[in-house]
Symmetry: C2
Subunit: 413 residues, 2 copies
């Protein structure tokens, strides 16, 4: 709570740079006059801000405005590709992944490695993850791309300082992801490193460079061995107290159901995660071999295999029951199926809808939509990359002025 | 998104008046110097704002500062009692209630009438509710108290324009509460009227003039014939898309449980609402006669009646199961038992805890607390009254300057 009387302080300048960059990010390419209209800033302020952002290689000129009528046509500016990157790293039960992304939504470098992380030591898994991360850092250095930061995605409870408190499906507890990855990356460049839950990051990926901005409030339900959810309310990720919460997979749906590694019984993920579906379908597939297992399952269901169809229907019913709780509590406009639930959506959706129609009393009075994530399995690692870039969007001065442009500090807005 | 360059506009003046009033409301009585410190506003600006708020009878002088050391002791100012009131009206299954409250947390006028609203027409019930409201308005007029507005509490889904969409336990659907009450109050004074769900209003009551500000994020669970919840996150009521959501009573807890008037089966309120507890306890009491029923139930449980104790234990288990879903999704720091759950807390709490400890995986990594609402059954109607006053806190200029003080418009800050 502060006075509004302050004259342009460094904070105001940062905020105005952030506003102008956001206008270009969400609405660009656009003219400086359009930035002024969108932000409410004075045209000469916008002009100084755009000069500054260009000097930081965050904005670039993208041709002339196409416009009818009289008056000078403005130069269009837009977010510059590949000048600055965000690194995402992901550890999940069955793979390691890295994604180096830029502000335009582009993917500069992406790799993944299939490996069963449930049967290895934490240390070996993190060594391998850092090795993937260093490949991306080397690529960025060779390409002249500056790094805004690193974000690590993990399938468990991650607190705000980036400490992985508990990941039952990995069998990990109490792992300080930020410190461990920082040490392994040889972080002498002072990279900002953070960590978050994989479903949270998959949810923000849809907002940054997917259709998420048109979804209203939404819940992305991510299915893997475990089941998670990322909740976006008013355009912001809901991270709850300490960053906990969103543990959708541990909603109790079967009062006396099967035991869960979390310590409870009848948790949603025990009856609707990939291993439960494969077991109910009677398919001999390793859920850790995700793509192969999905292929087997969709082939069986597609060819009319009654056990596979029944298994998917039952998993959809439990998902629908748990989603009814979310709808009755939070009334999201959109439910997004991510992870393995995407390729299985044709079989899951009818059962999900049937439970929502019966149980989600609130859904009778507005129209939630059920959509399938197009990002699917890469959502979390790309969301991690874009989250790393978010700091630059909030404070563009984190990216230094490129001295070769000759812009002096004194002339910046 | 606007420029921060604007000079003091009417909006800025309103906002500064609101800041100064809020400082007095939450931290008063206090000196003008303390208001300046809390708000970051310049001392002479604060002086003008306090003069203005006193002229509107919103602030009043409350003696001299008690302070050691040198320097002049400041005059303390605080929120004025009874100069402006907020009216709350409540319709529930078994009663009608009115509460006229002031900014200090004082209750100027409060009445309730026991009546079974489930067996009467909507129109007769609203006639009676408006009659109670008019008694409060007459009281306010005689006392020289100005009215900030009216808020109606109802046990169901209320959308943001104040339309009661569905209240299964009342058997009401599609009732335009704001228009109906406005018409019945003969609202030629142009009173601002709004409506909201009873559990939402009971939750904000705890924040306004209860211990709620010290609870962090919290969920107030309100038990009556139905069960509802009000969710407060970051000091703000979470109202979800269109104002829906928070329908805790319709969380599916028993997959094939008893049918619910909402159209589903096994909803929490069907197995943990007052009628379910009374039936399981084998007590012949009318849940519509709330106080008598509670008395019978606590007497039976207190004297060791096994059926009553088992019924309360079972209700507590279902509540604990549903609360585990809330904790796994939202990780609130505090769970508050309101309505009938307050007087039953001694019997419910052990079972609630036992389920949370087993099922709420997230709760093992932070410490949620379970507290009992002290406001209890009057929470919703008082919360409605304080919600009516909230508009004045946001825009103190809604209360006109009292001409007798001689303050001219031109001299206001």
């Amino acid at each position: 709570v502060a006075s509004l009387d302050s004259t342009a302080s460094p904070d105001v300048r940062r905020q105005n740079l952030s506003l102008a960059l956001a206008a270009a990010l969400w609405h660009g390419p656009l003219s400086q006059a359009s930035i002024a209209t969108l932000t409410g800033l004075a045209p000469n302020t916008v002009s100084r801000l755009v000069t500054d952002l260009k000097a930081r290689n965050l904005l670039t000129e993208l041709g002339q405005e196409a416009r009818d009528g009289v008056g000078r046509r403005g130069t269009l500016v837009g977010v510059a590709g590949q000048s600055v990157g965000g690194l995402g790293l992901e550890v999940s039960t069955d793979r390691l992944a890295v994604s180096l992304v830029d502000l335009t939504g582009g993917i500069a470098f992406e790799r993944q490695r299939r490996v069963n992380n449930r049967s290895r030591s934490v240390s070996r898994t993190l060594d391998d993850l850092a090795r993937l991360g260093r490949q991306a850092l080397d690529w960025a250095e060779a390409a002249g791309m500056r790094l805004a930061g690193v974000t690590v995605a993990a399938p468990g409870l991650v607190d705000e300082p980036g400490h992985l408190v508990f990941a039952p499906n990995l069998g990990w507890a109490d792992v300080h992801l930020v410190a461990e990855i920082s040490e392994r990356l040889g972080n002498d460049r002072g990279l900002s490193i953070q960590a978050d839950n994989e479903a949270n990051l998959a949810a923000v990926a849809e907002y940054w460079h997917g259709p998420g901005r048109d979804w209203g409030d939404y819940v992305l339900v991510s299915g893997e061995v475990g089941v998670g959810a990322g909740i976006v309310i008013d355009g912001r990720l809901f991270r709850a107290n300490c960053g906990f919460g969103g543990e959708f997979g541990h909603l109790p749906v079967v009062p006396d159901g099967p035991p869960c590694p979390c310590g409870s019984r009848g948790c949603l993920e025990r009856v609707s995660g990939l291993p439960a579906i494969l077991a109910a379908a009677g398919l001999d597939a390793d859920p850790g071999q995700r793509d192969a297992a999905i292929k087997l399952l969709t082939a069986a269901a597609g060819s009319g295999d009654a056990a596979a169809i029944a298994a998917l229907d039952q998993a959809g019913r439990w998902l629908g029951t748990a989603l009814s709780s979310i709808i009755n509590l939070l009334a999201p406009q959109t439910i997004t199926l991510g992870g393995v639930f995407g390729p299985l959506a044709d079989w899951l959706a009818p059962a999900i809808w049937s439970e929502i129609e019966e149980r989600a009393f609130v859904a009778r009075f507005y129209r939630p939509q059920l959509v399938v994530s197009e990002l699917g399995a890469v959502g979390a690692v790309r969301g991690a990359g874009w989250t790393s870039l978010r700091r630059v969007c909030e404070d563009p001065t984190l990216v230094p002025v490129d001295r070769s442009t000759g812009l002096s500090r004194a002339s910046s807005a």
